[in-house]
Amino acid sequence: MTKFRLSVAGTVLLCTFLGGCAAPRPPAMYQWQGYQANVDAYLRADTKSLDEQIQLMEEDLKKISAGGGAVPPGYRAHLGLLYGQKGNLDLFAQNVQAEKAQYPESSTFMDFLLRNFKK
């Protein structure tokens, strides 16, 4: 028991040390999956086809919902953009609407996109 107590105390001390001065960082708010890599692939425009990018984004989206996690800001809008680039304006609008519903902060920009890119 004493040994256990000592090791607990040690761990607490170590954590305090490693934590330094900053307030404890909260746990991750979103599930990112391959989103950053997908954005990178889109911006580079020469590594993966649009179909491949859409497939990866849709698969990750299923994983995020299955895990009960939150979809990160911009995720649905980016997926919409990929569909838009393929000429699928229904799925473009659907995903842009999903972004707007999840994040009201995006309303002005999402409405701009819906006005400017429609059938």
């Binding site: 040390f17 490693l18 330094g20 001065c21 900053a22 307030a23 960082r25 909260p26 991750a28 708010m29 979103y30 990112w32 989103y35 950053q36 890599a37 954005v39 990178d40 889109y42 911006l43 580079r44 990160p72 800001p73 911009g74 809008a77 980016h78 953009l81 972004e99 994040y103 902060e105 995006s106 309303s107 002005t108 920009f109 701009f112 996109l113 400017n116």
Partner: protein, 221 residues
């Protein structure tokens, strides 16, 4: 020197070593940040002052995550870039020169983040070559025009090779993480850019951005 004096000196040295782990820089002024408290951030494509053409896209692809995890809504970076291109603006410098009123009108963001990359790629030194990425960022409120925050960060694939980088236990851990990330990488500079961007834009760091409204730490820093 007596044994006692030696111990005293040792204690002082150890103490200052521990204390040097934090609060070495003067604290930033957060008055304007706290007065404006933006909820959403528009990240414009970074200005690239290096010869490496990939630098801007590389840093941009990493910028959303730390800001979102800090509690902000981040305008979708790919759609922002496309919206500019649709309007004939293709260069980051021109995008960053857009009047704030126009940015507010189209994107509806509370604040805009201007990033400038000053180093990206391989730096050849005497003994070893290293991938180094350095970027600075400036956050400006689009409603009031006030500058809210400025920051700068660097990452290198050779961190921890010299004794002066990062200090303390945390430094050693960071170094270990950096090495681990890079060991499996073929695109070293891109990976280093990820580390530099995270350092630059994470909340809860010394002189970093404050937590945003979606974070449970909002208003506590």
């Amino acid at each position: 020197m007596s044994w006692k004096t030696f111990l005293k000196v040792l204690a002082v040295a150890a103490f200052s070593l521990v204390m040097s782990g934090c609060a070495t820089k003067p604290p930033a002024d957060y008055t304007a940040f706290k007065a404006n408290r933006p909820a959403s951030i528009l990240v414009l494509p970074p200005l690239n002052n290096t010869p490496e053409v990939q630098a801007s896209n590389s840093v941009l692809s990493y910028a959303t995550r730390p800001l979102a995890e800090a509690g902000y809504y981040v305008m979708p970076v790919t759609l922002v870039a496309e919206a500019f291109k649709e309007n004939g603006v293709t260069q980051a410098a021109d995008m960053q020169a857009t009047p704030p009123e126009k940015l507010r009108q189209i994107f509806g963001a509370d604040a805009v983040l201007y990033i400038t990359i000053s180093k990206y790629g391989t730096v050849f030194a005497v003994v070893n070559s290293a991938s180094v990425v350095t970027a600075e960022a400036k956050l400006v409120d689009l409603r009031t025009g006030q500058q809210l925050w400025v920051g700068t960060a660097t990452a290198s694939s050779q961190e921890g090779q010299s004794n002066q980088s990062q200090g303390g236990l945390v430094g050693l851990l960071v170094t270990a993480i950096v090495k681990q990330v890079i060991a499996s990488s073929t695109d070293e500079s891109h990976k280093v850019a990820g580390i530099a961007t995270n350092r630059l834009l994470s909340a809860g760091t010394q002189n970093g951005i404050l937590y945003g409204p979606r974070s449970r730490n909002y208003g506590k820093d």
